[in-house]
Symmetry: C2
Subunit: 389 residues, 2 copies
């Protein structure tokens, strides 16, 4: 691990939610980079390197694909999908494993696409046979998968779903919402034949919020180029941004809209730290921490929202409250011990569970002992709230 063992940061509550996560000192220092022109050779080098290193996070070597990093948020990635890869009236199959599929369907409809949701029961995945049946019923322009739904902690098997889509409906684009998965779950973009994976920086990439990050395949870009009509968004248009990203990666300055210089410096700083260790080791470290947290939670007699073994996220855990303990009984007690966890988000069960994020430096730098502290705080707070572990 190249990450600093002793943090230079001011004492602060540990943010152990499913994003934003704790950041390394080097990433925060990069956020404070003095002013730099967005077209200066110094910044062009940094932006180009960040776009190139992003490819490694996706195991991408096919240069027909392109990485993007744009001022915005994870949510903005949906606008890119809906306004560039789907034309008005075209169908989208939205696999639903929680809150975020509802929002994505809403986004697709905003730009004139026709979303069809295929819903799993709360805490479960959408079954492959149901997806196959749906794909045979009509032609979908895209299939969208929430890799990890941050509202439930359900992990979808994007490799198998992508293979199924390619077999049954070869022209359909496979879109992955990787907001809570990129950097913690394996994503082999080229090998698994994916078309677009979007994410945000403040989760397992370990960079403050403020960017929309994604990679689009050559196939996706060809579909964009073959559009009958121009993109239906201005700021979220591939027509505007694709040449900009290509130019920066080729180390040439280019202008459409001023990039967030400091956030891009922070992105490069974090990618260098992440890629200094084999990604397989990083994923394994997160899997081990996830197993430890999930088994400890189970030993407290608590149940996960994500019910199916093997389909539980490695970067977060959603935990049902025990009977008789409400969120306001628990989270403030945990907070008083210096640990910030998150409440529920899924509309139907929001008050019934809480969420722990375990991504980034809190996982990879074991000397921080963040989760020793967090698990102890949960146990003690449950006891204080009247639940005996």
């Amino acid at each position: 691990m190249t990450q600093s063992k002793a943090s230079a940061q001011a004492a602060h509550p540990l943010t152990l939610i499913p994003g934003p996560v704790e950041f390394t000192d080097e990433v925060l220092a990069a956020m404070a980079t003095p002013s730099q022109s967005h077209v200066s050779p110094q910044f062009v080098e940094v932006f180009g390197d960040a776009l190139a290193l992003l490819r490694q996070l996706f195991f991408n070597t096919d240069k027909r694909a392109q990485t993007f990093a744009i001022a915005g948020a994870g949510t903005l990635g949906w606008d890119f999908v809906a306004s560039n890869l789907i034309e008005p009236g075209e169908d989208a199959l939205v696999l639903h494993t929680g809150y975020f599929a509802d929002s994505l369907a809403d986004c697709i409809a905003t730009y004139g696409g026709k979303p069809t949701q295929l819903k799993a029961p709360i805490g479960d995945i959408v079954m492959l046979d149901a997806i196959e049946t749906a794909l045979k019923e009509k032609t979908f322009k895209v299939v969208t998968i929430t890799h990890v739904d941050t509202s439930t902690g359900v992990l979808s098997d994007i490799k198998s779903i992508a293979a199924l889509v390619r077999a049954v409906s070869p022209e359909t684009l496979v879109i992955v919402d990787g907001v809570c998965s990129v950097g913690v779950e394996e994503i082999r973009f080229d090998d698994w034949d994916l078309d677009l994976v979007l994410t945000a920086p403040q989760k397992a990439i370990g960079v403050p919020a403020g960017l929309s990050i994604f990679i689009a395949s050559g196939r996706a870009l060809d579909v964009f180029r073959a559009r009958k009509a121009p993109p239906t968004s201005y700021y979220a248009s591939f027509a505007k941004w694709l040449p900009i990203m290509q130019n920066y990666e080729a180390k040439k300055p280019s202008y459409f809209s001023t990039p967030p210089v400091q956030n891009i410096h922070a992105l490069l700083a974090s990618l260098k730290q992440i890629l200094a260790v084999p990604l397989a080791d990083r994923f394994a470290a997160h899997a081990r921490m996830s197993d430890r947290i999930k088994s400890t939670i189970a030993s407290y007699g608590l149940k996960q929202v994500a019910v199916r073994e093997g389909y539980q996220a490695n970067g977060m855990t959603a935990v049902y409250l025990p009977d008789g303990v409400a969120l306001p009984d628990l989270l403030p007690r945990i907070a008083s011990r210096g640990i910030v966890l998150a409440g529920g988000l899924h509309r139907e069960i929001a008050t019934k569970y809480f969420r722990i994020g375990h991504m980034g430096v809190s996982v990879t730098d074991e000397d921080r002992e963040d989760f020793d502290k967090a698990l102890a705080a949960i146990k003690d707070s449950l006891a204080e709230a009247g639940y005996t572990v």
Copy 2:
């Protein structure tokens, strides 16, 4: 002045372009704020305060108006206008004083609006009688004005234009692109009866790029509420963001898309510095520096792109190159002296001029002597390039 006199920042080239500008140490320190949950009481306080202080920058006290600060860029503000305040098929009158009006017209057309451009000759303003004639020809849903076009340095008289619009076409919304003006030019949002002013942080607000900032009037929000159809953007939707901004300003956590926590901390830090001094003093300091730069440039025998006295920006100067000196002869020589200036941007004259930004701490903290250095660097570099001042 409350700004620090001695910078703690690493030695770096001075960025004196029309954004990004130099930042204060306090703003950069805020960019490095350790991780914080976006719904924590600590962050809710910071975000709410920033939204409230933003009102002061616009002399706004009418609470029917709302300030917004959203992860993105100045450009994204146009998407908010085009997708919330104009419905498909409706007309927009775009006053053109440079590059940015073309882009704004493109944005309006993307969402189905019908832009009519009223073009000034390069370097000049659009005349009031031409605007009056246009307003009488058809009903426009909005009139857009680029307060300062960053490609030319032309300053438009938004107060007079707004008064004219209100007299001739009272229902028409007055939209101001204040990207290169907010924080340096006076903007009395309530008194001048404006409807939306959008800006970006990396200019006279003195915060790194990464935000779309704007204020919308009660009238504009009522027009939005009366839409026949929903907004045509998802991420840039008032329907999504208005309740979020209202909640944060009321110090209540709220979620649509994760806000850029560190950028918002930096925004608050800068607004506190800016508002520690009367705004009239700040505007006067910028006007004095602008006069000094413009008169020095004239004493070198160089001409401004913005030709009309009284309609020249106070935060930037666009300067035609002398005969026989090309941009590659000049800017690298200035850069070798530690000063970063910008090339041209207006498509028709891009290679014929350069631009100086004079906004923010480089202006207000005279002890920095940034423009003593810059003006000397320009003079010496011109001589080196064979032009005798």
